[in-house]
Amino acid sequence: MLSSATLSLDQAPPISVPFRFFLTAPLFAALAGLLLIYYGETLFVSRWMPGTLALVHLLTIGFLAMVMCGAMMQMLPVLAGVSVPNVLTVPSIIHLLLVVGTGSLVAGFLYTDSNVFIFAMVTLGGGFGLFILLITVTLLRVKVKNRTVKTMWLALFSLLVTVILGLLLVQSLISPVDGLQVALITNLHLTWGLLGWVGLLVIGVAFQVVPMFQITPEYSQNTQRLLPVALLFLLLSWSIGALYQTSLVTILAELLLMMGYLLFAFNTLRLQAQRKRKVSDITLLFWRVGMVSTTVAAGLFVLNHFSSELIPQSKMVFLMGSLFIIAFGLSVVNGMLYKIVPFLSWFHLQQRNLALPREKRVKLPNMKTALPDRIARKQLIAHLIMLALLFGAIFWPQWFARLAGVALFISSMMLWWNLVIVTKSYRAYALKLRRRATDA
C-alpha cells in the first residue's frame, strides 16, 4: 500500500465522543451494584424476576454494549484503517439513545409500565439500529479485509439478531404476542447476545489486540480463519435445533459451541504465557481473569451436561450468567478500557502536537504515566473481591447478595474514577497545546 492514508483525521469524531461512552458505562455498572444492594437476595430467586432482568440489562447494555459500541467506532481506524464518519454527529446521538434506552428499559422492568417499555423500544431500537447502520457503512469502506474485520461482520450480525429478539420480547411484555414462546426466544436472545455479539467481538478484537498490546505470538492462522465462522455456524445450528425442537442438533451444537470458547480461552492463556515481555500489565491480568472464567464456564457446562446432579439447574443458570456476563464480559471490557482510554488520549494529543510547527511542539508523557498500574491494580482487587462475593451469593444469597452489590458499586466507581484521571491528564495537556498554538 502507498500513501495516501485511507484514514482521515478530519473525519474522525472528536475525543469527547468516545469518552462519553467509556465514562458513562461504569456508572451503569455502579447502578447495577446499587440495585443489588436494594433488592438483595430476591434477585437470586429466579432469572425472571423483574429486578434480575433490570440488573442484567444494566450490565449488558449499560456497561458492555456501551463500551463495545464506543470502542468499535474508535478502534476501527486503528485496526482496519478506516474512520467511522461523524456524519450529523450520529455517534453522539447513538450514545444518547443507548443511555436513555437502558434507563427506560430498566425502569420498565422495575415498574412494569407499558409506556416506558414503548419508549425503551424506540430508543434502544433506534440507538442500536443507527449503530449497526453506521458500522455496516464503515466496514464496507474497509480496504484491508483482515480477520478482525471479518469477525466484526459476524459480531454485528449477532447484534442485529439479539436486538430484534430483544424488541420482540419487550413487545410481548406490553401485550402478549400470539404464538411467541417467551422462554425459547429469551434463550435465543441471550445466547446470540453473549456468545454471538459479545463473544465474537472479543475474539475478533483479541486476534489483533492480544499480540499487539500484550506482545504475545500471533493466534494461528487456522484459529483466526475457522473459529469465528465455526462459532457462528454453531449458533445458527443451535437456534434452528431449538426452534424446531430437535434436541440432538441443539445438544451437539451447544456442546461444540462451548468447546469453541474453551479453545479460544485456552489459546489466549497459552499465548499470554509465551509473551516475550514479562512486565506485568493490568489489561493482561483482567484478560486472564476473563479467560479463566470462560474456561470454567465452558468446562462446567459440558460437565453438567453429562452429570446433571453436579450443580442444581436453578443455580446453574445464575452461575453461567455470572461467569459469562460478569467474570468474562466485565473483566475483559474493564481491562480493555485501561488500554483504549490512555491510548486514545495519547493519540489525540500526538495528533494535535504534530499539527504545531516543530519549534512549538511539546514532549508528551508516556501513555502509562496517565494512569499508573498500581492505581488500576487496586481496582482489579476490588473486581476480584466482587467476583468472589457474587459466586458466594449464587449459593448463599441471604449472606452475600448485598455484599456483592456493595463490591460491584465500589469496583465500578473505582474504574470510573481511574478513567476520569486519564481524562483530566488529557485535558491538562490539550490546554497546554492550545496555548502553544495561540502563542505568538
Binding site: 484514514l7 481506524p77 486503528v78 484503517g81 499487539m212 498490546f213 506482545i215 500526538q350
Partner: protein
C-alpha cells in the same frame, strides 16, 4: 541511505513514538525502513501531515515493512525497494 528500525516487539504507542522520533533525524536522500508486526494505520495521516510519504509491504500476516521518506526527496524515493 536506509535507516532500519525494528518496532515489532514494542507495545503501542511505542512503535509510533520511535518512528516519529527517527523521522526528525532523516536527512536528504535518507529513508526509514520499519519492521512492524502490523500495519500502523493511525501513523499514516500523522506523518503525511508532517510532510512524509510512505509505502507498506505485507511480507507475511504478522510482518510488515514500512518505508518512509520526505515528500519531494526523489533521491530517497528512488532507493525504496
Amino acid at each position: 541511505m536506509e535507516h532500519p528500525l525494528d518496532v515489532s516487539q514494542l507495545e503501542p504507542p511505542e512503535p509510533m513514538e520511535r518512528i516519529l522520533g527517527k523521522l526528525d533525524e532523516l536527512k536528504a536522500g535518507d529513508f526509514l525502513s520499519v519492521t512492524h508486526r502490523r500495519e500502523p494505520f493511525p501513523l499514516y495521516p500523522l506523518i503525511e501531515q508532517d510532510g512524509f510519504r510512505w509505502r507498506c509491504i505485507e511480507e507475511s500476516p504478522a510482518l510488515f515493512r514500512i518505508y518512509i521518506w520526505r515528500v519531494h526527496d526523489l533521491r530517497a524515493e528512488q532507493l525504496i525497494p
